[in-house]
Amino acid sequence: MNVYNIKAAVMPVFPSCRTFPLFLCALLLPLYAAAQPAYPVKPIRIVLGSTPGASPDILARMITTKMSENWQQTVVIDNKVGAGGLIAANLVAKATPDGYTLLATSPAIAIRAALASNPDDVLKDFSAVTEIGFSNTALLAGPASGAKSIREIIAFANANHGKVFFASGGALTADHINGERFRIAAGIKVQHVAFKGQSEALIEVVAGRMLYTSASLTSSMPFIKNGTLRVLAVAQRTPLLPDVPSMEESLKGWGRNGSQALLAPKGTPLAIRQKISREVARITSLPEIKEKLDAVSFGITANSPEQHEKNLRADVAAFSRVLKESGLKTN
């Protein structure tokens, strides 16, 4: 829309003197808008691959409530559940790249890209917006091994060569890959067994049928507190468990955790993506939000679109390496 159209539209009412200042404003408004993209001027839709009430959903709602207050625009969460987020991703990939349709993702998208023969098959449809953060994960051992540290569990696994297992909440989930990552880094022989969801995997470790598992700190906290599970290491040191070392400290070269993030359809203007990323950074640093996220040990990593893009590529490369080394990826 250019200035002349606006002028033409306003002209008929111009004769009234009282509207003259208004006319001036109308004339100037588009100029201002050209410098600063007028975003958002209509409701924003954030598509999410998880069910209402699940933790990524609660996180997204926490952020969108604040976003909506600040921008005076409705921000809708659209739960398109299914196929590990693929249905939500496909929907956003085809959406108009105007910043009004966004995808809230989990590390699953990086895993999917890592599994593809060419990661760009998965990533080419999206432009990075910002990371939000990651749920702190823990490496947990049950009572059967008696292991209290990384060193002890490695010793136990070596002593019971080939007779020990690790549990995950499903094959090719982030938990599974973390379990494999630990197996490779520690150089032990353990066999993977997949269960339906983190909670079932945790019971198997508590019951002593599985040696270890990787799970979010939130779901494993009650077991840690009552001593039925030992936490050997966490992805990132947390004040909730001050004595527990990070994975990086325990095993060199552990690397990053995949993160929850916002993606936009490919071609969404950088200025809009920057505006959203700044807003997410502002919201995640609000004391009330930060307090809630700290309580569940959610590490905040809000950043710029450029940095997000870089990290996403790095995650894909890291996942790809683990998948290749554990024989889960053959192409």
Binding site: V193, L202, S219
Partner: protein
């Protein structure tokens, strides 16, 4: 403070006027959600989470739990009146409940559902009160091998559901098992039989199949009747909407047994209300003196499963509250709600937040009373559905089914699926193939396969794991008995009658 004092304090919390109001609100919403197929308690609770954000956690959780067990009351209504399970666990009710309604006993079927739900629900809550903490260790003993044997035992039920022709039963069972393999394989993460359709990656939804097989097939049958002009006029119900003395006598046993079966199955994470209902149905069919009535409107086939799926909800709260482990979809959302309030369910919860836990548990006694009061007088209202002319009723069933199926995932694919399974159900009906084995093997098949493979990985391929523990041996023996019983009983009877003659 000892546990008894905590329990008593819980009653004080539960009877606070505010909490009574939220209990009522919860069970009322639960009933409504239960009546509508597709919209289950998971979705209902999830929708409430953002609304209850600032509320007192105890009241909010009491209300959400109310939705959870209230939905099981409502689920039977649609199952009985229009052969559509309003809630997945009501699937067995739609077999005999609907037949009862056709025989003019809709009132009795609805009454026995409500009364059975009340008695069994209360049994469940008593079980929860008494055994919550001790039962925790039992749930832990169920590993992959034990689950496999449990599923195997449940699968032996197929033999009692096959009807007249074993071959036809096998066709339905195998089709169910085949459908159960569609989707991402849990162990390898590979997609199986998805034909490149992303919607199939999560498998074919149970509710979708059931709504298609039961409700849509019923509509197709009705259309045929209307076309041929042979449709029966909807019957006016005469007499009271209550049970006869005979029906009472036949129902009381199934209600008690259903209550106990439901609670025990509920405690095991992963089994769930549908399996509880199926187990109860097959148990009643075996114990019955007139098994031939099952599938043709036996009141036991309504009383048992409806009781089982209610006490299952109380059972499912055992692992949720004591271990922080959700056994199914609705309890997983409840867990999410707990965590949102900064409350971590687990072994410590009973010590750190006794008022909340016992307030919640005790509100369930009150909620069950409210539900039976709420549901019995409303029966008259629901029964009126039957007087609706078929020209209006059938489109209504299609609409309700479509809304229900679409509401689960918001996927148009599911709408095509209910239509496809409607045709399957219609063809099955015409060829005399029973539908129930398909439903059962669909529920159990996927879990059975995964448990088997988990167990085999753990044992490095050694089958010994399946008879390595007391639990597996007991379940194995029960499965064998269950398979042999239909053959042995007629033989024993023959022997007995021969003995009489001589």
């Amino acid at each position: 403070m000892d546990t008894f004092t905590h329990i008593m304090n819980g009653f004080v919390v539960a009877t606070e006027p505010m909490n009574l109001w939220y209990t009522f609100l919860g069970v009322l919403m639960g009933t409504i959600i239960g009546v509508l197929p597709g919209i289950g308690p998971s979705a209902g609770i999830a929708l409430l989470i953002p609304i209850t954000y600032g509320m007192n956690p105890t009241s909010a959780l009491i209300m959400m739990a109310g939705i959870y067990y209230g939905a099981k009351y409502g689920g039977s209504t649609t199952a009985i009146l229009i052969r559509t399970p309003g809630e997945a666990a009501s699937v067995m009710t739609s077999i005999d409940g609907y037949e009862m309604a056709k025989n003019g006993r809709a009132g009795a079927a609805l009454a026995v559902s409500a009364i059975g739900s009340f008695i069994a629900g209360t049994i469940g809550v008593i079980g929860l009160t008494l055994f919550a903490v001790p039962l925790t260790s039992m749930a832990l003993k169920f590993g992959p091998a034990e689950y496999f044997m449990l599923m195997l035992f449940a699968m032996t039920a197929v033999s009692t559901l096959t009807g007249d022709s074993p071959a036809k039963g096998v066709i339905a069972t195998i089709l169910g098992l085949m459908i159960a393999t569609i989707g991402i394989d849990l162990q390898s993460g590979q997609a199986r039989f998805t034909m490149g359709v992303p919607e199939f990656l999560d498998g074919v939804g149970f509710v979708v199949v059931v709504v298609g097989l039961f409700a849509m097939a019923e509509v197709l049958r009705g259309l045929e009747d209307i076309y041929r002009g042979s449709s029966a006029k909807a019957m006016r119900i005469t007499g009271k909407l209550w049970l006869t003395r005979e029906e009472w006598k036949r129902s009381i046993g199934p209600i008690w047994r259903g209550g106990i079966i439901g609670f025990v199955i509920g405690v095991l994470p992963g089994a769930g209300g549908t399996i509880a209902a199926i187990m109860s149905y097959t148990t009643e069919k075996r114990l019955s003196k007139h098994p031939e009535e099952f599938g043709k409107g036996a009141i036991e086939g309504v009383a048992g499963p409806e009781s089982a799926n209610n006490s299952d909800t109380a059972g499912a709260l055992v692992p949720l509250l004591t271990l922080g482990i959700p056994g199914g979809g609705a309890t997983a959302v409840l867990l999410g709600a707990f965590i949102m309030y900064g409350i971590q369910p687990g072994p410590l919860l009973f010590q750190t937040k006794p008022d909340l836990v016992w307030g919640l548990v005790n509100s369930m006694y009150i909620g069950n009373v409210m539900l039976v009061i709420l549901n019995l007088p409303l029966i008259g209202l629901f029964v009126r559905l039957l007087y609706i002319p078929q020209g209006i009723l059938y489109p209504l069933i299609v609409a309700i089914s479509a809304i229900g199926a679409y509401a689960i995932n918001g996927s148009t694919m599911d709408l095509w699926l209910i239509l496809a399974f409607g045709v399957v159900g219609y063809v099955f009906d015409k060829t005399g193939i029973p539908v129930a084995p398909l439903v059962l093997s669909l529920v159990l098949g996927g879990m059975m396969e995964q448990s088997f493979r988990q167990a085999m990985t753990i044992s490095s391929g050694d089958l010994k794991i399946f008879y390595g523990s007391t639990i597996t041996v007991v379940l194995l023996v029960m499965s064998v008995i269950s398979v042999l019983l239909p053959f042995v009983i007629p033989m024993l009877r023959k022997l007995g009658s021969k003995g009489d003659e001589s």
